[in-house]
Structure formats: C-alpha cells, structure tokens
Amino acid sequence: MIDIRGLTVEYDGGIKALDSIDLTVNEGDSLGLIGANGAGKSSLFRALTGLTAFTGSIKFNGLDVIKKNLPSIRQDIGYVIQESDDQMFMPKVIEDMIFGPVNYGTSKEDAVKKADEILKKLEISHLKDRYNHKISGGEKKMAAIATILMMKPKVILFDEPTSSLDPHNRRTVINAINGIDSTKIIASHDLDLIYDTCGKVALINRGRIVKVGDRDEILRDRELLESNGLELPLSMGGR
C-alpha cells in the first residue's frame, strides 16, 4: 500500500532528517514508528503527505507522491500532527470535525451525525461546541484525533497521539486506534502504546532505519532499544 524507496529529506542548512530510507507498509498493517527525538519520524509523515520536499520515491496505492497526485492521495490519508494546536483551524471543535467530510461532499447534517458518533466513541461529547482555543492541551489532542477519524481515511498517520493525555484518555485513544480498520502508522516514544496498538515496528535513528520487525522482536530487545536512545516499554520490564 505504501512503498518507500530511497527516501531522503534534507532541510535547509544540510540537515538530513531522513537518509535514503526503504520501507513497505501493507494494507491493514499497524506499524509503529519509533525513534528518539529528532530521529525523523515527523519528517517521514510530512514527506508521505507531500508537505515536505524529498528525493527518492514514495508510492501510495501505486500512485507516486508527486504534486499531480496529491489531491487524490490526500483524500485517503489522515494525519494527526504532533502539534494539535496547529491541527485545528476552525473556531469550534465541531466545525473542525465536519470541515474535511464537507469538503469531500458529505452533507452537513450527515457530517454532524458522524461527528456525534465519533465524539461518543472518544468520550468527548462535551467538547463538541467548545472553542478550540479554550480547551486544554489534552482535550485538543483528543479533538484533533476526532477530526481525523471523521475522514475515514484508508491510512492514518498518528504523530505522538498520546502525548499530553491522562491515563484514561490514553487508554481511550488506544482502544479507538485498535478499533479502526484502516492501515495505521503510529509514531511515538510511548513504547507501551506502540506495543498495544502495533503488530510491526520500524526503529529509526538519525534518519536511517535501524530495524523493521515484529513487535515482540523489537520491543523486547533491550540492547537494540537502548543503543538507539530508547528504553524497554514498562510492560516489558523497563524502568
């Protein structure tokens, strides 16, 4: 479904955020993307969605990620960005939630109905009519996830979906993620989250893929994790 070959992302000033990466994601996969701060996780997502210039090739459902194909590719990708503050641009939560579906032709009533379901699933119905700039950081994160679930995308990219969430909301998000049939890529340092939601894991360090493998193969390997700036998940007996 996603085929990445020789992907390199270089920012101004010669910083190589990603250095010739190869990665394949199959339909229905739930892939965890782990790596220390600055490893290149967000850059990978931005390249995938055509928000950042890159060299190499990314194929999405057989379509090259190039300018011409972006509108149709983006229709199938949901991207929960790391900074949920910047994810929301409409005044109210509900307005933000229906923005995407209405743009793609859903009627407003249907979109609101769908929004109600998703709000309920995420247990945040009380946020529906609140203003985006007047809700807390964690609430914003939940709302941002809700706006993306609205799109029913074929692939969802989650960038740190549980940062700033309390344990209850973190659990709700994990359950919600597990309840989605879409293909998922989840970038996080929260390795317990990755363990609970992903079957496959890709470990990146300084812009290079160190290892791709089954969840248990990677998340139980203390040496591998520690040499790449991470620690064993708590549930695996980490500190």
Partner: protein, 266 residues
Amino acid sequence: MNRAREASSEIRSVEDLSKLDSPVHGLSPLSKLLLTIVFIATVASFNKYDIVGLFAMILVPLLGYMISGIPVSTCFRKLKVVLPIVLLVGIVNPFLDREIMFSIGSFRVSYGIVSMVTLMLKGMYSLMASFLLVATMPIDDLCKSLRKIHMPKIIVSLLLLTYRYVSMFLDEVATMTESYSLRAPGQNGIAFRSWGSFLGQLIIRSMNKADRNYGSMILRGFNGEFYYCDRVFSKLSWLWIPILIAACVLMRIFNVPALLGSLFVR
C-alpha cells in the same frame, strides 16, 4: 492576562458575534461590504467644516447596530485600543486654525476645533461601520461570496489565512512574552537588546505554525473553495442596500439636519 492573549481572544469573540442571527447577519456579505465602502467613502468626503451634515451620518451605522442586536458599546469596548489613536488624529488642528467660526454664548469655536471634531467623527464612524461589518459577517462567508464573483482562489485564500493568522500570531506573541517574562522576572517588557532575536523568532515561529495549519487544511480537502459555508442569504440584500447607499449619498449632498430643521422650524 497578557495583552496579546487578550487581543487574540477579543478577535475571536468578534468572530462569535458574526455567527449570530439577525436581519443584518442575513444580508449577503458582498452587499454589506459594498455598503460599508460607500459609507466610509461618503463620510471621508465630507468637508472638514461640515460638522452638522456629518452628525446625521451616524444614523446609518446606528441603524445597523440596532437591527443586528449588537450594542454600540461592544464596538467601543473592543476597539478601545485603536479608538484613542483615531481620536488623536485631529488634535493639532485647533492650534493651527484659530480663526473663530461661531460662538456659543461666550465660548468661541474656531475653525480648528470644528475640523478636529469632524476628523474625529470621520474616524469614529469608519471604525463603527467596519466593526459592524466584521461582527456581522463570518470571514468564511465573505470568502465564499468573493469566490462566487470569481475572485481568484489565491487571493481569497490569502484573505482567509491572513485573518486567521492575526489571532494565531497574537497567540504566539503571548506565548513568547509569557515564557520570556518567566525567565526574566522583574523586567518590564522585553529588554531592548533582545528585540531583534525576539522578533526574528516570532516571525519564524508564526510562519512554521501557519505552515502546519495550512498543511492540515489541505490534508482535509481544502482547495480554495468554501463548501462548508452554507448560510443562505436574504434575497432582499440587494434591494435595500441600494436604498441605504442612496441615503448615504443624499445625506452627503443635502444637509439633512438643516432640511429637517427647516421643516419643523418655519
């Protein structure tokens, strides 16, 4: 509260006003825009000594405020920062133009005082009218109608984003000044030597923020069209707008207060 934070929440609360429902809100955005432009142009064109004629012009915005249900005081409260600046514009006129125009009892009113007052009024009216426009017209609706008359997408999107970025920018200012003052306790404002880097940071950070924001818009299907705006505007918009425009022009040409006065005082 931090002044920048306050300003951004003021802007946002004006956006709330624009979502209310009233006959004024129900008018097509373009007709209101046109009317506002005509009104401001008319007001600006008044002779600087024509204080009486200018007085009458307040009727137009007042009518708007009354029908829309937005108290005039809201306008003055929200604009309390800019209002003094507008009112200060003509402050030197009384010193430059001392010739006496008329006197009320023993109080002599010079041409300078009159022109100062007209300038103030012109500024105030323009502010009142612009505020009413913004407070009765959601920005997205304006953008949508601009698209309807085939204004290029790029210009319309620019307008929308600029509007959005004002509050985003202010938030950024607030966050930065807050974190600055947390690490520079006892300092009043920002030390002069830090201005350069502060401003530079501010611009870069706002640009990054804007970039991410725009990114999440296009990822959710935004392509310069405004499908999500579905307010239906009153068909009467284009009927009574010309009437009001005509009224503005008439008030400009004829001295309405004097005419009315001569009707009653025979």
